[in-house]
Symmetry: C2
Subunit: 155 residues, 2 copies
């Protein structure tokens, strides 16, 4: 799994057209507006198929770790296939994203999840401080020692 | 090289702190605001070190291809290390990004390039139509047959 974590003043999205793998939505899920969020752009990868539960546990740890440092108000899980060139099946992706949401909610966070399989317009801001933009590769392995924050310095 | 191409109503950025690999900037480069742009988020990768000129030629072809279909007004090259877990050296990245800018300008496009090696706040919008969000892996190989547009359908 690849994730891009953005500490954001605001994120806004609106669903446009469905793709053939679109999840069914209630009317209130078709658009969203969130402020002071940790936005977790997420690509579920082929290699996550084998042990999706472990991937969920590990990404939740990463999200909690970053969230505790930046003190955002809420978490928004945003499906983002463009972070990987080796994607899981859509079914696995959907279920992993939903499990991430559930797990984080169980831990007491305020969590939203943007719809899977829809074209969406969006606007996002990134605060620009060193921890406001981080990426991680999440595997089933014990999470490796993280490189120094700010390691990706051309962003 | 990994690129994420966003057809954007607007992109705004402002430089914050320098990193140790920051490029020197003129005052007018420290912030930028662009409308109706094709924003090219770009990560130069380790394997691009060998033949950077070919990578530049190939990514320029990809950009021209997408640009011709969406009819944006201008192109913004935006360094984005978070798209890859295997980056080139900062020197190669800088020079590849500058060559992309130069090459596209030579071809007559209106082109801007966001600063390399600075923490930046930014805001970006994505229009949400099927070609408004595409990612590509660019190599020195002949560009492979592209998958159908909209292939990354959970985004
Ligand atoms: Mg991105």
């Amino acid at each position: 799994m690849r994730v891009l974590l953005i500490h954001s003043d605001y994120l806004k999205y609106q669903t446009k057209n469905k793709t053939r793998i679109a999840e069914e939505l209630r009317e209130d899920q078709k658009e969203g507006y969130f402020t002071d969020s940790l936005v977790v752009f997420t690509a579920v990868e082929a290699e996550d198929e084998e042990k999706p539960q472990e991937i969920v546990q590990n990404v939740v740890k990463e999200i909690e770790d970053v969230f505790s440092k930046i003190k955002a108000e809420n978490i928004v899980i945003y499906p983002y296939a463009h972070l990987s060139s080796s994607l899981s099946s859509p079914d696995t992706a959907k279920s992993v994203l939903m499990e991430m949401e559930k797990e984080l909610k169980n831990k007491g966070y305020e969590v939203a999840r943007a719809p899977f399989g829809w074209y969406k317009s969006f606007e996002v801001s990134c605060k620009g401080h060193p921890l406001s933009e981080l990426s991680r590769t999440v595997t089933t392995q014990k999470i490796p020692q993280k490189p120094e924050e700010g390691e990706k310095e051309e962003s």
